[in-house]
């Protein structure tokens, strides 16, 4: 009788619980709390938080290779590189590249912010992470969740959960992280700079942009093809004006479905044995540094451009070079308004903001090209 009771008890999860699993429950619940109560990136943090709870329930087998449900989501969705490009299809369908086309020199601010990615990569490697892990950690500075996940799946799958949570958490905290850096690196007079009126952009230009940029970027960095191809296809849906149903599906139904299948398995990669290690936890500090550096390098580049440019750029726009769209652009606008109540920067800030999305994909493509055999 005693033996039978022991055997029965052994089939339950209770006897297999570890303190690490309980810690992970707390982390999962904190993410769920932040998503629901604070609305921090709820579309991703909610399923990620729940995924963390599920994978840290002993004997659930949800991440057991070949048979676990979440393992299948992870393997066929993320490892096979299907979900991040599909997210980019939706992002393309949402994105208006008009502000960038109206003021093309602001593209360089989207490139400037990527310097933070590479500086963090260098620093991470110096701190003992291998070169693949360092590249994945640096990518957090791009403030682009799907790209971070994409590059993690290729270079450092073991860090995917931590990097994805760090990227989405810091994206949600853009309004908290960026303004102090913006105020520190600019004078009030610089924040008051008014931008020249942008040129009008024709519908034909907007239509040609996704096609031409697909050629230019993929010919230059073939490794960026999956993300750029989907981003620009989504944008072509939007600008063509003849496939409203496809545009709507990419923006809504498809985006919503893949978001579920992205968040849940990402959370499920965060098992206590893998996640609760100093090396993994330190990623959150490095990710924050990456994000701060990307903001700073964008601002510094805007100031450098002002040294050689006749038409001055408000350096706050450099902070929008990180690809947290449209949050970073909104923050730029808000900080600009504080200095001059009639200086409306939102439309200008959208230029470097959407350029930042392209810049991050290019940076990821370069890492993949240089670091994979």
């Amino acid at each position: 009788m005693g033996n039978n009771l022991y055997s029965l008890l052994n089939t339950t999860g209770f006897v297999h619980l570890t303190p690490g699993m309980v810690v992970m429950w707390i982390i999962g619940l904190i993410l769920i709390f932040l998503a629901i109560k604070k609305q921090y990136e709820p579309l991703l943090l909610l399923p990620i938080g729940f995924g963390i709870l599920l994978v840290n329930l002993p004997l659930s087998g949800l991440m057991e290779p070949e048979v676990g449900l979440l393992w299948k989501f992870y393997h066929y969705g993320i490892h096979w590189e299907i979900i991040p490009p599909l997210i980019f299809l939706g992002i393309g369908a949402f994105t208006d590249f008009g502000p960038m086309l109206a003021n093309p020199r602001l593209i360089f601010l989207g490139a400037g912010a990527q310097a933070g990615v590479y500086i963090t990569f260098f620093a991470s490697h110096a701190m003992g992470y291998n070169i693949m892990e360092a590249a994945t950690i640096g990518m957090i500075g791009g403030a682009d969740g799907p790209t971070t996940i994409f590059i993690a799946s290729k270079l450092a799958p073991q860090l995917m959960g931590a990097c994805a949570v760090a990227a989405y958490s810091y994206m949600a905290m853009v309004p908290i992280i960026q303004p102090p850096i913006m105020r520190l690196l600019t004078t009030k007079a610089e924040r008051k700079i008014r931008m020249a009126k942008p040129r009008p952009v024709s519908k034909r230009e907007k239509l040609l942009f996704p096609i031409i940029s697909t050629f230019v970027i993929i010919l230059l960095i073939p490794a960026s093809a999956p993300l750029i191809a989907m981003l620009m296809l989504g944008n072509l849906f939007r600008e063509s004006g003849v496939v409203e149903r496809l545009k709507g599906a990419a923006q809504n139904e498809l985006m919503n479905i893949v978001t579920i299948f992205l968040g849940l398995p990402i959370g499920a990669t965060m098992h206590a044995d893998v996640f609760l290690q100093p090396k993994v936890l330190f990623i959150f500090i490095l990710g924050l540094i990456a994000f701060i550096l990307s903001t700073a390098t964008g601002i510094v580049l805007a100031k450098l451009l002002n040294l050689v440019s006749k038409e001055k750029i408000n350096p706050l726009l450099g902070a929008a070079g990180v690809s947290a769209v449209p949050m970073a652009a909104r923050v730029v606008h808000k900080v600009g308004i504080e200095a001059d109540k009639r200086n409306y920067l939102i439309m200008y800030a959208m230029g470097p903001n959407v350029a930042g999305v392209i810049g991050t994909v290019i940076a990821a493509g370069i890492f993949i090209t240089l670091l994979t055999p």
Binding site: A115, I131, A135, R204, I362, F367
Partner: protein
Amino acid sequence: MSPASVFAQGIISVFFGMTLLYLSIKITAFFVDRFTSKTKGADTDGK
């Protein structure tokens, strides 16, 4: 490949890529403007 090499190549490539994109936008805008104004001219002549 050394981290310093990845660092340098990465930054150069991002700026090179964005410069190409910048040039392609400028060239597209130039030709679209030309084409549009020619079309308008033809319309005017036709009238």
